[in-house]
């Protein structure tokens, strides 16, 4: 009744192409942005930021990155953890080497460095695809982790191979290190997330994104109509790795504050982010958010219900968590193989017709 196109007249191409064609959606988007920037920062505490918002935002950035590569350009990657490690170690080296420069530039530069590394490891995608490419990117995962463990220069020769984020600030507000205020940590992650999501949305609906999708859907046909596969695949790897690198940099510098390559950026991280986009929905911006929310928030939510609410022993709760989250993944994928994003899309279709479906 309220959720409909009728009455919302579009008089220009610009209006016609907007991201949210329905008025209610647009309003919802602006309200969400206003709440996220204007209200939440005044109420968040350490627990909310460190256990919920920071991991959710950062994983959402990583999921957006992988979604560009796998969901939009169709190149399967199991190297996400390794690329996050590149971002983390790059930002660490930059933070330590140039302490006077604003951390935001360090994070962006770390993303840039990851993009270069990503393109390098993306070269095999020109010759191989599908499972074979997955194996090649898997190799990059293991190589990068091995490299960060093996070469002491990356962790500044510390005894244990751990890297620790020193205190750095943005316009005088501390955003890394132990003295960070909860709201500052929240906002820095949110700013990057909104920026990345905005970029991703605009890239994917423009010519670049259409090329990626052409390559994904049928690379030979795309080539025939004039898409250069080299450029399309390399840009996909570059943009994707840039996002993943930014996520890795924030993950280490803002969220954890200390990291080691094998534990924080191991193969399980690659799988976790791949699961996020599969459950959320391949080739969907909303799906990246939904998948990250599902994989990050569900375990925390269940832990709080089972241990905090129902007083179960922690080990029993942890095992049940695996079973419930696993069960839900299977359930969602059976109900809707295209992920949560598709569920959301169907809901919206139904809402448009409600209450007169015929």
């Amino acid at each position: 009744m309220f959720y409909r196109e009728a009455g919302d007249f579009k008089t220009s191409y610009r209006d016609d192409n907007q991201t949210f064609p329905i008025r209610l959606d647009r309003a919802g988007y602006w309200v969400a942005i206003a709440v996220a920037f204007g209200i939440v920062p005044f109420f968040v505490n350490d627990y909310w930021v460190n256990a919920i918002f920071a991991p959710f935002f950062i994983y959402a950035i990583a999921a957006l990155g992988l979604n560009i590569l796998t969901g939009y350009a169709g190149q399967v990657s199991l190297g996400t953890g390794g690329f996050m490690a590149v971002g983390a170690y790059a930002v660490y080296k930059l933070m330590v080497a140039f302490p006077e420069i604003n951390i935001i530039f360090h994070v962006l530069m770390a993303g840039g460095i990851t993009a270069v590394v990503g393109v390098l490891f993306g070269l095999p995608s020109l010759r191989i695809k599908g499972f074979y490419l997955a194996v090649a990117t898997l190799a990059s995962q293991f190589f990068l982790i091995w490299l960060f463990n093996k070469v002491p220069w990356f962790y500044n020769y510390s005894a244990s191979g751990q890297i620790n984020a020193p205190e750095r600030s943005v316009f005088g507000i501390i955003v890394t290190g132990p003295n960070t205020e909860a709201w500052a940590k929240y906002l820095i992650c949110l700013v990057f997330l909104v920026g990345v999501a905005w970029m991703a949305r605009n890239l994917t609906r423009g010519m670049t994104g259409r090329k990626w999708m052409g390559i994904r859907d049928m690379d030979i046909a795309a080539e025939i109509i004039g898409v250069n596969p080299l450029m399309a695949k390399m840009t996909a790897f570059a943009v994707s790795s840039f996002f993943v690198g930014v996520a890795g940099a924030l993950f280490f510098a803002v969220y954890l504050g200390a990291a080691e390559a094998g534990e924080s950026f191991g193969i399980s991280k690659s799988f976790l982010i791949l699961f996020m986009i599969i459950i959320g929905g391949l080739g969907s911006i909303f799906g990246s958010f939904a998948g990250a929310a599902f994989m990050v928030l569900m375990p925390v939510f269940l832990k709080n219900v089972l241990v905090g609410g129902m007083g179960w022993p922690t080990d029993l709760a942890a095992h049940f968590e695996f079973m419930i989250v696993g069960g839900l993944i299977v359930f969602f994928l059976i109900v809707e193989p295209h992920g949560l994003a598709q569920l959301w899309r169907l809901t919206k279709e139904k809402l448009r017709l409600w209450p007169f479906p015929h």
Partner: protein
């Protein structure tokens, strides 16, 4: 977005429901799941059981009951962060996360929140330097003491001469396993043995290639820094390549019953460094049996009493309870804060008389913590496994470690940390 808000709102509703407590809160960031659960379970059980014993037998510490909220980390740093934030609000006095990775993460955070960290025998070794690390305590012994104790034992059995010997460190490829490398390198130079390190990646269920390398290089001795499932695999693999197990020495985290039992008789002779007593021939375990296990109040299954890692949990809990008592004495209040707890830890003194009173005579060393030294005496002994009898036994006395080598390393590493983080020296 919609999904996340529903979940977050529910979490908030639950957190508001948590009751306020007037108790001494010792959170236990434990891991009863994951590849390291084999070690995590007995430690968490021992820690919780000793605290329960104090509640049941003595009515807590200084008349205030103790509560031990548990939080499952699965040895994962992200879950560790969540657990830290979740329990911090309950008035946590001290953290003992039993994970070197989580410790590294918590050192700056806990220091900023004025909550001490107690990491006996693990964590950041250079935190022994109290001048830099105001809130971290790792007495009575740390990794570098352990490495030195192992080398001292090798010196003992080789007539004080190790020149030309080949020693390999097989280690977990993470913060924990890499800690002893600088010390062993320095000791190798001092005593003239040939040292090299072979890493095993997390979680360590597959070590064929590492042991192939060991077989090829034919070392005289293998030192071993493993944990959880990695230990059992390593000891079985050592048996498979017929490596004499009396030439393999594990650190204290690689020397428990569950590590050697899977290898059966082949494990006989395997040695491990220990910083506290083994077995259950101490009166305190009788009390635990009587007040906790028989009363049906044991944590977990209650079947770990007297095992190596369980004892370590008891030992750690004892230290914290004593420190809390000290803090109550210093500040004259029963319901202490985390800052006061830190003072208690810094002025803790464990005497032999006190150990006897606690029913733990000879279980660990007598020592005194000071502002400069948060690392304790660093004494350690060597224990050996007998598969026939199914027991660990100490084959040496608790001896000192080579502080001549270790102290400069501690100073260098802690000063580097101080410089990176702009920390001014304390205790002047």
């Amino acid at each position: 977005m919609k999904f996340s808000r529903v979940a977050a709102a529910s979490v908030a509703a639950l957190m508001v429901g948590a009751p306020a407590m007037a108790e001494l809160v010792f959170p236990s960031l434990s891991y009863r799941t994951g590849p390291f659960a084999a070690g995590g379970i007995p430690y968490a059980d021992g820690f919780a059981d000793y605290m329960t014993l104090l509640n049941e037998r003595d009515g807590g510490v200084g008349g205030v009951k103790i509560s031990v909220p548990e939080c499952e980390t699965a040895y994962n740093t992200e879950k560790g962060v969540e657990c830290y934030e979740a329990t911090k609000g309950e008035g946590a006095l001290v953290y003992n996360p039993l994970s070197t990775g989580i410790t590294y993460q918590l050192i700056p955070k806990a220091t900023a929140d004025d909550i001490p960290l107690y990491t006996p025998g693990y964590g950041r070794t250079s935190a022994a330097n109290g001048k830099v690390f105001s809130h971290v305590f790792n007495f009575p012994a740390n990794y570098w003491n352990g490495a030195s104790a192992a080398v001292n034992h090798l010196l003992d059995i080789n007539g004080a001469d190790l020149s030309g010997k080949k020693v390999i460190l097989l280690h977990f490829n993470g913060a924990y396993g890499k800690e002893p490398i600088p010390t062993l390198t320095a000791l190798g130079e001092k005593h003239g043995f040939d040292f090299s390190a072979i890493p095993v990646d997390y979680p360590g269920q597959e070590q064929k290639s590492q042991w192939l390398q060991i077989r090829r290089e034919r070392p005289d001795y293998v030192l071993f820094w493993g944990w959880g499932v990695m230990n059992q695999v390593a000891i079985q693999e050592a048996g498979n390549i017929r490596f004499p197990l009396e030439n393999m020495i594990g650190v204290w985290w690689s020397g428990a019953e569950h590590d050697v039992k899977p290898a059966g008789d082949a494990a006989t002779g395997y040695k491990a460094v220990a910083f506290h007593g083994v077995g259950s021939d101490y009166p305190v375990f009788g009390d635990i049996q009587k007040y906790v296990v028989d009363a049906g109040k044991a944590a977990g299954n209650g079947d770990n009493v007297g095992t190596v890692i369980y004892n370590r949990g008891v030992y750690a809990a004892m230290m914290l309870a004593e420190a809390a008592k000290k803090a109550q004495e210093i500040h004259g209040v029963a319901d202490i804060t985390s800052g006061q707890m830190r003072d208690g830890l810094e002025q803790l003194e464990i005497t032999d008389a006190r150990m006897t009173e606690l029913g733990m005579e000879g279980f660990g060393p007598a020592f005194k913590v000071s502002c400069e030294n948060h690392g304790g005496p660093g004494t350690a002994a060597i224990s050996q496994w007998d598969a026939g009898k199914g027991t660990w036994s100490l084959i040496s006395d608790f001896g000192p470690s080579d502080m001549e080598v270790i102290q400069p390393l501690i100073d260098a590493d802690s000063m580097a940390y101080a410089a990176e983080n702009n920390i001014a020296e304390r205790c002047n």
